[in-house]
Symmetry: C2
Subunit: 267 residues, 2 copies
Amino acid sequence: MESVASAGRGRGPERKPEEVKSAARVLEVLELLGADGARLSLAEMAASMAVPKSSLHAILRTMQARGWVDLDPSGTRYSLGLKALLTGTAYLEGDDVTSLAGPVLDALAEETGEAVHLGRLDGTHVVYLAKRESRHALRMYSAVGRRLPAHATGLGKAVLAQYDPAEVQRRLDWPLERLTPDTVVDPEEFLAQLAEARLRGWAADDGENSVDIRCVAVALGSGQGEDAISCSAPKSRMDDARMEEIAQAVTEAAHSLSTLLKRLGPH
Amino acid sequence: MESVASAGRGRGPERKPEEVKSAARVLEVLELLGADGARLSLAEMAASMAVPKSSLHAILRTMQARGWVDLDPSGTRYSLGLKALLTGTAYLEGDDVTSLAGPVLDALAEETGEAVHLGRLDGTHVVYLAKRESRHALRMYSAVGRRLPAHATGLGKAVLAQYDPAEVQRRLDWPLERLTPDTVVDPEEFLAQLAEARLRGWAADDGENSVDIRCVAVALGSGQGEDAISCSAPKSRMDDARMEEIAQAVTEAAHSLSTLLKRLGPH
DNA sequence: TTCGATCGTTCAGAAGACCGAATGACGTTG
DNA sequence: CAACGTCATTCGGTCTTCTGAACGATCGAA
């Protein structure tokens, strides 16, 4: 065992300097199983991750022993385990914004009668943290944990409007993806919308991620939060006048929640 | 052919034979941060997990780089990251039972007007996988991902009633924990309740985990599933007669969902 | 300011995990 | 019925990560 040890940096193809290999693989497995419907065999995952089967085998064993992945009765197909669900919902419970938002969202949903969401910017996307259903029969689909492109949602635009155009340009993936015929993909038009939202105090979405759905959103905090709340409804129930009404209600709710957060934050 | 087969690790104090150390630690971090409100420093976690700080440091770095844990602006307090939420909700989307249950739960909630739950047995506890709110102003608190002791819930008893008394005895932690004055903690009484539930086809909970809440539950599948659906209401809205009515509705819903599952399962 | 405590971070030796090929167990096909 | 493809699993040698102690940064108090 001579082996002068040395730095060991020499040969690695493209390894990040400070990453624990097995740790990264555990997370990659969770993300892979979470991405699709997720029912993969060991061989499939090994191929997809470019990792030797034998190495992955030991990792999956560890994960299975702790309930983070489940294995078919046949013993050949992995899926996410219950621990993943428990930890995921714990994220919501441990989050100050989500915890405090409950009553505010209830009140806003009660006042408007429409679907209400709390969302957080995560890279180029927005994640729903909480929602309240509309009282009407005709409802939009949404779910906590769901991700939508930020540039095509009221929530995303409300948060992005807080930043400089240069910062926005840096944060998003260009060109912007088109989700519906009405999605704004032109950079200038998009930045103009953000400027308008900043002046007006609220951001809009007019069928840009779901056809026929309009949405009004306001960011929380004062210039540095990544969160926003919104109210959405079908166009048939939200003309321009109603949109202004709702915008005022959402603005008040956002202000009230921001105040709550500032009171509890510094503690 | 048993070859040389170097048998046991002579020296390891009490290490599981086949576990990847870093992998287990990643999962333990997630569980630790998910357990409480969860805002822990590196030193606190290292102490709580009995792991050297330096080892944990590298792991947390890896987790942070991938968005699985967040770090305070101050850089001294870790909490769960957004990836945890995304993966957790993916568990629900990838689950056949939860996905197919939607319409059935909607119908049952509509028919009874009361809170409806889908739950799964996980060790000694039951986890809520889906819920529908009551139409009434007086509601019970519940949340997807929440865990309750199986022995004190209708859902848990419905699932456990499928097993032999010996199997039940093996699965639960004795003595049974008392959650309310009405929680059944006597082993004989508990097993008698399960026997009754098996004969009758549905399990009951009468204020055993939440004072004043009654619940009717029926297991899915035919003798080997770990899932059940239930309907809960305050005692003021659920007398014995109403309970029988609701039991019939829940039984029909459970049967209908089981049929759906068998049709899609073998595929 | 100075001290002290607490925290995150770094580094070389020591321990353990990773890798690739070979094995056994299925289920499927010709 | 037998040969094949695919699957999970095992095994030692090599290389990575883990460890414990020392370092540096940060904050609060004296």
